[in-house]
């Protein structure tokens, strides 16, 4: 399997808004913690270590 790079969510704007809303009013520390939990939950949902590693690699490129 390869990491999807094309659009995969019907309503991307709503998904993006849900992410932003979740962080509304949180301190930076709470935001960081929320993101960490979210990453862990989504990794488990993906389930495929190879895909997870490809996603990490893509994310690392932005640094």
């Amino acid at each position: 399997m390869t990491l999807k790079l094309s659009k995969n969510i019907d309503d991307q704007d709503a998904a993006y808004a849900a992410l932003i809303d979740a962080h509304q009013g949180l301190s930076e520390a709470h935001s960081i913690a929320l993101n960490a939990r979210l990453v862990l939950i989504l990794c488990n949902q993906i389930g495929d270590l190879d895909i997870i590693k490809q996603a990490i690699q893509l994310a690392c490129k932005e640094n």
Partner: protein
């Protein structure tokens, strides 16, 4: 009750008065690994001299968790049953976060194995049993208060200089086993360095003696209320001794923390009362490092001298005994002229592989237990937070992944419909057989295991024919109707077939002896 240390007698070594003939094997270090190596070699009829700079068994309990595989190896050298009888058998571990249990594991949920998943037994008890066994063996000579102070190698021998209370002498050995522990003086004398990670976290280890009924389980806490947000471990040993490990933080002052006046109140908080005696304490930091090679011409590193890990997976002592398992049959064959030195290169290849697996597991556990500030800490804390209400996060909580033998990456004939747990490279799994236990019957020889069919005609190797009982079928046949296994002397599965010509089995066995596999 605290252990009664009885010093072993120093005996004048003959080498002080006249040169000794070259010995086939000299072992440096009478710890569990050196002693087990001597007894393993004795099983093959190989004599060895064991040197130790001290004259008592381990001071402090040190290695306490002995794995199923270690017990099987110790059984082969005659003390496995005594260890189980004396030890505290356990298989359940419980991990807590603050006051809540978040995860538990059962290391051996099925029956039909001679040895339990784990026992806890103080290193001094294991060493005492090994020493007594060595005293009885005609193949082992123990020399206490014999300290190696110099080594040189030339071609086919290693020559060492030894200091005794009466002066120095020298010994020559065809092979020298460095079983001299984590701070290995031999390693230093040979100017060899470890490679790998150091961890700065400090831990307090304490053995306490107390009466009480605590379950035979491993209890681990992350951020318990009783220990100010750090981690803690409680483990039961024989003789009413309990092991407590407390994380102190990287900036703890070892000198100050070794003071019983500081230790006792810490322990009172863990167990909730002060009705105990301190038996032994130690402050330590972790290292996860190894030598890049374990075989250096005629000097072979075994156990902690070759690799050191953090203690939370019980992979130090157990990893060392697996080294002994991998080395004994090969070294015996080489010194007896049944095989040539390249066979020892396979020890190097397999045990550096095994050490890497232990190092990987140990460093991952260490990083989970003492995460560095920043992202490592955020992910660790949020894994613990999620574990309270999401099943998937519980097994991610890492308080140590306990020692199991690695599966060597062998390229060998295999049958895909047979169980993966007994694939080539794996250690044979025990099972009850007609007159006892499979692993006892396998012993320490290259053997053909024939299950549910007739042995091919004309095999010159020893053959063990088994009925496909429920356990044997589940562990060795899977979906196959019958099977033939080639098992190495260290009980590692070398190859397996459904139908096979005698010649192919023999060729496989020859390739192993020649060090080609």
């Amino acid at each position: 009750m605290a252990f009664d240390y009885k010093p072993f007698e120093y005996v004048s070594p003959p080498g002080l008065y006249s040169a000794e003939p070259r010995h086939p094997v000299v072992i440096v270090g009478a710890g569990p690994i050196g002693l087990a190596a001597a007894l393993e070699l004795a099983n093959y009829g190989v004599s060895s001299i064991v040197l130790d700079d001290n004259n008592v068994v381990s001071v402090g309990s040190r290695a306490i968790c002995w794995s199923k595989r270690s017990l099987e190896i110790l059984d082969r050298i005659g003390i496995g049953e005594a260890c189980v009888a004396k030890g505290v058998t356990w298989k359940v571990g419980r991990t807590h976060h603050r006051a809540q249990e978040i995860f538990s594991f059962d290391l051996l949920p099925e029956a039909g194995h001679k040895m339990p998943a784990f026992i806890n037994l103080q290193q001094y008890h294991v060493e005492q049993m090994l020493v007594e066994k060595c005293f009885k063996s005609p193949f082992v000579e123990l020399r206490f208060k014999n300290k190696v102070i110099a080594i040189e190698q030339c071609g086919t021998e290693a020559i060492i200089t030894i200091e005794t209370p009466e002066g120095t002498y020298s010994l020559s050995a065809e092979y020298l086993l460095a079983c001299d522990g984590a701070r290995s003086p031999l390693r230093a004398m040979m100017a060899l360095d470890f490679e790998g990670e150091l961890f700065e976290e400090r831990f307090l280890i304490a053995d306490i003696e107390m009466e009480g009924e605590f379950p035979s389980e491993r209890w681990f806490w992350f951020e318990p209320d009783f220990h100010n947000g750090q981690s803690a471990l409680l483990h039961k040993q024989p003789d009413n001794i309990y092991r407590i490990d407390l994380q102190l933080g990287w900036d703890a002052d070892p000198e100050k923390e070794s003071d019983p006046k500081r230790i006792i109140p810490r322990i009172e908080k863990v167990i909730g009362h002060s009705d105990f005696k301190l038996d032994w304490t130690s402050i330590y930091t972790f290292q996860c490092r190894r030598l890049s090679r374990f075989v250096h011409d005629r000097v072979i590193f075994v156990g902690d001298s070759a690799h050191i890990v953090s203690p939370f997976g019980a992979r130090g002592g157990n990893g060392g005994l697996q080294d002994v398992d991998a080395l004994g049959w090969r070294l015996a064959a080489v010194v007896q002229g049944r095989a040539s030195p390249p066979l020892l290169e396979q020890y190097n290849a397999e045990r550096t592989f095994g050490a890497d697996e232990n190092l990987l597991n140990s460093s991952r556990a260490t990083r989970f237990m003492s995460p560095s500030a920043g992202a490592e800490r955020w992910f660790r804390d949020e894994t613990l937070a999620l574990a309270a209400h999401a099943d998937f996060a519980r097994p991610m909580v890492n308080s140590g992944r306990l020692s199991v033998p690695c599966i060597y990456p062998l390229t060998a004939p295999d049958v895909s419909i047979m169980p993966t747990q007994t694939r080539p490279g794996a250690t044979a799994i025990d099972a009850p057989i007609e007159d006892g236990w499979l692993l006892n019957r396998l012993g320490g020889q290259m053997l053909v295991l024939v299950i549910g069919c007739k042995a091919p005609e004309g095999i010159t190797l020893p053959v063990l024919t088994l009925e496909p009982t429920t356990e044997i079928s589940a562990r060795y046949l899977g979906d196959a109707a019958h099977g033939i296994y080639l098992v190495r002397p260290d009980q590692v599965i070398a190859a397996r077939w459904q139908d096979i010509e005698v010649q192919a089995i023999q060729e496989q066995a020859n390739a192993i002896w020649e060090g080609r596999l």
